[in-house]
Symmetry: C2
Subunit: 333 residues, 2 copies
């Protein structure tokens, strides 16, 4: 069973995921993941994976998007969250959820190859899983992410994203919520709404694309070269509250941006992460509705540089590409 | 000129390092770095690099350890630290220092191949540079780190470490200082001293090696598989206060641990980072001397897994190898 363990100095939690590789011989850093298929994620191979948790399609064997439990889960739904002390240290059982969203039954396609309508179904699957997992009162957050390519941490080539639901709000999410809250208390406005306005109306140079519902931009303090954020223009803290028309716009923007990144950076490995408010936030805060301060968005990070000792030791990122240049290149891409 | 930029939401600073790769064509993620030498870091090739800042040896052309400015510095000493606003965003000039410590004139050797006496000279060079950089009142911290191997971010094969001195205390250092301070205020003892005692006297299972002056252990909440900390047993917040005899003990322990990692994990890429107190901390705090709460140490992280979307988006690490197993493997290695 996996464990959460808390560092006695910084208070950071880590997941010790005992169902995965453990011993030196289990690690294959340079393992090749390319395959011509078919694989267990392909249509017609449903019996090679655990039973699906959710699908979009006409039947469990004729699906467009399929959600299954991760076969080597970092966390599992079973267990309790009692904290145990070990001397000065704290631990908890690895309770949570770890699921795989298979984006297409077709082994040969990647997410950006799918039609807008197909990408929309992937996003609708994200939404459905968030709404379902929120019912488990032990869970505080669900992080939806995609690892594309070996250098970005993918171990399988077939197009998929993942979600990990945790009983602890992740540290980086807490930092964002805290920053957004402080800004809101000072300004009584959402920091993201103000930021979108500044970037699209005033500076413009970091905007990559903009339409009625969404904007894609290279953030002012990008940690990674060619980092892109896709933000909804309409204020909303919860991705899961997204409407039908917005999902379509988001799918179209995502497809366009992923294809620009692919073209301009020669099909790089990348990650994306959906940022959203944690489950069951209290609905009123000191200044009124707490839903007014946070704003969901998607962060896409091409992995064309490597994290080195400086970044690991300091949590301070060195980014060689000014976002103004990244935006210009992607705008013209 | 490089810039510090502050994210308007989280308040995290990043370095936009404009003297490095910028455009898509500048990035070569899979560039091979192996070379049989000689290279600009080799003995006899001193004129191919900027003039040395410091050396240990009989003359600038007959050196054992040589410190030079980084040729593509993330930060430079020239400039001022005035903050500029850009709408909601903050920036500062990229003032600081970025130096390379060439660990040996011999292209064919890596750090763990050097003798204890040679490694001691590398550590003495770290100490000398810290003491010198502390004199620049604009600087708050110097992070000394090593990237070994392409996957760990090294771009040159010749054995070297780096330092980056910053006018901002890095976020991760602040978290540690804060955690150590809270523990000290509660217990009136150093959290690291207590932790060393717990691990060596009570649990023992995570200890890899111990001698008179140092202990090497797999930390309870390791973020990475086979992560190792080397801690001095004697309490000291400042690496730069290390004595001659201790440096020798540290060099011997470092050589031994690096060789164990090399053997057990088949010569993996790795990073190490020296953790220490920032420059010019006030010497007395509420409870007495502030030097009592923090403790320097070296953190070594083999890079045998990849950071993926989950870690980047959450700052929450998944580690597949329990540190008890890592310690057992390294103890027997």
């Amino acid at each position: 069973m996996s464990e959460f363990r808390k560092d006695p100095v910084t208070g950071r939690w880590v997941i010790i995921a005992t169902e995965r590789a453990k011993r030196p011989s289990d690690f294959k850093l340079n393992a090749e993941e390319k395959s011509n298929g078919p694989c267990a994620f392909c249509g017609g191979h449903e019996n090679e994976t655990p039973k699906e948790i959710f699908f979009i399609g006409s039947s469990p064997s004729n699906w467009d998007v399929r959600v299954i439990p991760n076969m080597y889960p970092a966390l599992r739904i079973e267990g309790n969250l009692d904290r145990e002390g070990m001397g000065m240290c704290d631990m908890m059982q690895g309770v949570g959820a770890h699921e795989v969203i298979i984006e297409t039954p077709d082994h040969t396609k990647e997410l950006s190859d799918l039609s807008v309508d197909e990408i929309k179904k992937v996003l609708m699957a994200y939404k459905a899983r968030i709404i379902d997992l929120e019912k488990d009162k032990r869970l505080k957050y669900v992080l939806i992410f995609k690892n594309k390519g070996k250098e970005a941490g993918a171990s399988l080539q077939h197009a998929h994203s993942q979600l990990i639901a945790t009983p602890i709000t992740p540290k980086r999410v807490k930092e964002e919520l805290q920053g957004a809250k402080e800004y809101y208390e000072y300004k009584r406005r959402c920091v993201f709404c103000d930021y979108i306005k500044q970037e699209t109306k005033v500076f413009k140079e970091r905007v990559i694309k903009e339409d009625e519902h969404f904007v894609a931009l290279a953030p002012f303090a990008s940690s990674f070269p060619f980092e892109v954020w896709i933000l909804p223009k309409k204020h909303s803290p919860d991705f899961s509250a997204i409407g039908d028309k917005e999902v379509e716009g988001f799918a179209a923007m995502l497809k366009d941006i992923l294809n620009r990144i692919k073209k301009v950076l020669n099909d790089p490995p990348y990650n994306y992460v959906l940022h959203m408010a944690p489950f069951r936030r209290p609905k009123t805060g000191y200044w009124g509705s707490i839903d007014e301060d946070y704003h969901w968005y998607l962060e896409i990070t091409p992995r064309i540089t490597r994290l080195a000792g400086f970044e690991l030791g300091s949590d301070f990122y060195i980014n060689p590409t000014p976002p103004e240049i990244a935006a210009e290149v992607l705008r013209n891409g």
